[in-house]
């Protein structure tokens, strides 16, 4: 099932008239990193145990710290423009590997850390010096706070969180929820309306950096069915702004560009989660016995697994093309939406089918398909709903 995850070898096909050069995405050697990832997971098994990630207090900071210390983030980070393809394909390896660790759960905060918060910060010249470096070392982390209660995730024009001037300081008031990694963040990247143009010369959404421990900041962990313990609510009551990352009217534009990257990476993660549960279901079908024979002896089971495996291959091909486009600096919004939408659809289907193939065992918390089903619901919302993706595809 992993056969598309690396570039094919360049062997010579007999009789092929053209030189056998692969044009497939990838082709960046990642074997060393893959080995490094395997060593990390072997060494830090206790951090990656699935049951620790079913609690309301999963070891997010420990994981980020350990991963940073092991150099996993830096391996997936571009030192300059030319380094971008290497970094992106290493990030793919990272998310691919973590989709199979701890029922895929530890991969969630890791992606939020690397590909949401840190990567967004790195695109913002106003970000405080050293913040990205510390994040890459896994010493600090930030959360991107956009979604608000009541509004649909995609309707950012109706922000109620707002920044205002209070004497010499800028303060933010409002509420954000379903913020990934919020319970564990040192910093908050808050999208807030600036109705009085206090952050710049224009009104409209601004992007602001707040310290998570600042006065007026209250956080709580949400009891969500997926992403257990990883998602938070943030209440801001005249909380002081640390840095204006993007002034009023510019906040959304920054996010739009960022979301292309985020959506493709989330799509990588969803695809690999799906792949993991399909592989698990196939493996289990060899062992689970009903009516005197192994489940896999049922033609309908093999057909369902075969169908799912084809969907995994297809989505992976689509998503890897997205990575290639990102690497070349030219992934259109619509294509990122294709990746995100298709991967969400795949994960929904694969998790639900894999659960069904596992019978009562699949209904048990701790079963990979069950976890993927729950997490998949949240991932489908991350970075924009299906409907928003479809609208972006329609726009071309």
């Amino acid at each position: 099932m992993t056969e598309l995850s690396t570039a094919p070898g360049l062997s010579t096909a007999p009789g092929a008239p053209a030189p056998p050069v692969s044009r497939a995405p990838g082709g960046i050697p990642t074997e060393v990193f893959r080995k490094q990832l395997a060593e990390f997971s072997a060494a830090r098994g206790e951090l990656l145990a699935a049951d620790r990630w079913e609690s309301q207090d999963p070891p997010v900071r420990e994981l980020l710290g350990a991963a940073g210390a092991a150099g996993l983030f830096r391996a997936a980070w571009a030192v300059d423009e030319a380094d971008r393809p290497r970094a992106l394909w290493h990030a793919v390896e990272l998310h691919t590997a973590f989709a199979r660790l701890g029922n895929g759960a530890p991969g969630a905060p890791l992606l939020t850390h690397l590909d949401v918060a840190t990567r967004l910060l790195a695109t913002l010249p106003a970000a405080p010096a050293g913040l990205v470096e510390r994040a890459l070392d896994g010493r600090t982390t930030a959360a991107l706070a956009v979604t608000e209660p009541g509004g649909a995730g995609s309707d950012l024009a109706s922000l109620t969180t707002a920044v205002r001037r209070d004497k010499d300081t800028l303060t933010v008031t409002g509420e954000k929820w379903f913020i990934s990694n919020a319970p564990y963040a040192d910093h908050l990247l808050v999208l807030a309306d600036d109705p009085e143009a206090v952050t710049g010369s224009r009104t409209g959404p601004a992007l602001l950096l707040l310290e998570a421990t600042a006065p007026g900041v209250a956080r709580e962990t949400l009891d969500t069915s997926g992403h257990t313990g990883l998602t938070g609510r943030i209440r801001l009551d005249a909380a002081p702004v640390h840095t204006v990352l993007a002034p009023g009217g510019h906040g959304l534009l920054r996010l739009m560009r960022h979301w292309i990257h985020e959506r493709v990476m989330v799509a990588v993660r969803m695809t690999e989660l799906a792949s993991a549960v399909v592989d698990h279901a196939a493996e289990a079908a060899h062992h689970r016995r009903t009516f005197g024979s192994a489940l896999i002896a049922n033609q309908q089971v093999r057909f369902r697994l075969a169908d799912l495996s084809a969907q995994v291959l297809e989505t992976r091909a689509a998503v890897h093309h997205g990575i290639r486009l990102l690497a070349e600096g030219g992934c259109p919004m619509a294509y990122a939406a294709v990746c995100k939408y298709r991967a969400a659809e795949l994960l929904r289907t694969a998790a639900d089918e894999a659960l069904q193939l596992s019978g009562a065992d699949g209904y048990r918390t701790g079963h990979p398909a069950q976890r993927a089903l729950r997490d998949g619901l949240g991932l489908a919302l991350a970075g924009g709903t299906d409907e928003l993706m479809l609208l972006q595809i329609d726009r071309g």
């Binding site: 099932m1 056969e3 598309l4 094919p8 070898g9 360049l10 062997s11 010579t12 096909a13 009789g15 092929a16 008239p17 053209a18 056998p20 050069v21 692969s22 044009r23 497939a24 995405p25 196939a282 079908a285 896999i296 002896a297 033609q299 093999r302 057909f303 697994l305 075969a306 169908d307 495996s309 084809a310 969907q311 291959l313 297809e314 989505t315 091909a317 689509a318 890897h320 093309h321 290639r324 486009l325 070349e328 030219g330 992934c331 259109p332 619509a334 294509y335 939406a337 294709v338 939408y341 298709r342 409907e387 993706m389 479809l390 609208l391 595809i393 329609d394 071309g396």
Partner: protein
């Protein structure tokens, strides 16, 4: 599909030379083929020889075959370009017939034919003057190729072949057939021979097929009867006894190329439907701007874009000499089902108009339904995928 997404989908996969080939083919088809399709379809017949000759004259046949065998020495990507341009045509009777000639039979000669077979069948085929078809299916054998009853008895200098093939696409147009036959001692997968049988050979009788849902101008032969037909050894493709192996190996890349054509058909239907809906309005509102329809089309676009990447991945594996069997089965399954779904949804969106047999979308619906049935049915592909994944049979 929106033009942007199509361009995006191709980025990195095609060379500039291939892009130019696409332009040339697009222009050629738009001028020389597409305008005639309504009349051809209405008559139930296409001038396949003229179509192929025109392509041959422009050097667009067999591009991927070695120069020494009459080809241009290009890569399989040039055949993908042709397949996608064929999918742009509103008749898959044309698309399928050209594909049978250039991407199903010709490759077997190019890869497994001896020098005489190349001279006799491949070189003239690549000029478009010698038409090839594939006589593989038999009554009762269905998709189970190994179950052929046609027999080749070794005789001095060749074989005597007897049996009946059915459902031969372009069989009414063809000059020669690739025929799979069992040797008297056949024991799968060995004991078969693959032979090129000229239509003019003594003992060959070809009859038209009963009407079908689509492919009404594809010259489908209902039966190709072979009665003690002598075929010289030099017209055998692959070794004595290795016919089935040669045939099965050919199916794998062929299916990826077919998938490329299927996906191009799906993309074209979506584009045409989008254009039509933009013009059409009910209750004072453009139908195409209705949210339900926007979402419906966008879902299909996403599916096509994704399946295309799988097809290109498969082509790339094949070209680069990697194992492409799993991708081949996967993309054949996905593209056949998707094209069928796209055609059905587009037909629905055409409303009453779509009911007319002459409407492009109606023809496409009827033509495209064949993908899930022929050249590897959906069920065959699922079986193949399960096996390739190591999931044992009963």
């Amino acid at each position: 599909m929106t033009a942007t997404l199509t361009t995006t989908a191709r980025a990195g996969w095609f060379t500039e030379a291939e892009d130019r080939l696409r332009e040339e083919l697009t222009e050629h088809f738009a001028r020389q083929v597409e305008p005639h399709i309504p009349a051809w379809e209405s008559a139930g017949e296409i001038p396949l020889r003229d179509i192929l000759t025109a392509l041959g004259e422009r050097g667009m046949l067999g591009l991927r075959f070695p120069v020494e065998r009459g080809g241009a020495g290009h890569s399989a990507w040039s055949h993908v370009v042709l397949a996608e341009c064929l999918g742009e045509l509103s008749s898959d009777s044309v698309g399928m017939s050209v594909t049978v000639h250039n991407d199903m039979v010709a490759p077997m000669i190019a890869e497994a034919g001896g020098p005489e077979a190349v001279e006799r069948h491949l070189r003239p085929a690549l000029t478009g003057r010698h038409l090839l078809a594939h006589a593989v299916s038999e009554p009762g054998a269905g998709s189970d190729v190994a179950a052929v009853a046609t027999t080749a008895v070794p005789v001095d200098g060749g074989y005597r072949v007897s049996g009946t093939k059915q459902w031969v696409i372009a069989g009414m147009y063809a000059d020669a057939y690739a025929v799979l036959a069992r040797l008297p001692e056949a024991k799968p997968p060995f004991g078969y021979v693959l032979l090129m049988v000229p239509r003019s050979a003594e003992g060959v009788t070809v009859g038209p097929a009963d009407p079908t849902l689509g492919m009404r101008a594809a010259g489908v032969a209902g039966s190709v009867r072979l009665d003690e037909v002598f075929v010289p050894q030099s017209d055998r493709l692959g070794g004595h006894g290795l016919g089935l192996v040669t045939q099965l190996r050919q199916f794998e890349p062929e299916r990826i190329v077919s998938a490329c054509r299927a996906l191009a058909i799906a993309a074209r239907l979506l584009r045409d439907t989008r254009a039509r809906l933009a013009e059409r309005s009910t209750f004072g509102e453009s139908v195409g701007s209705r949210q339900e329809i926007v979402f419906r089309l966008a879902r299909l676009e996403a599916d096509i874009a994704a399946a295309r990447q799988l097809a290109y991945t498969g082509i790339d594996r094949w070209v680069a000499g990697g194992d492409h069997r799993t991708v081949s089965a996967a993309v054949k399954l996905r593209s056949s089902r998707l094209t069928r779904r796209v055609a059905r949804e587009c037909l629905h969106l055409y409303g009453a108009q779509g009911q007319l047999t002459e409407e492009g979308v109606n023809r496409a619906f009827r033509d495209a339904r064949l993908f899930s049935i022929s050249t590897g049915s959906d069920e065959m592909m699922l079986t193949a995928l399960a096996r390739l994944n190591g999931w044992a049979d009963d």
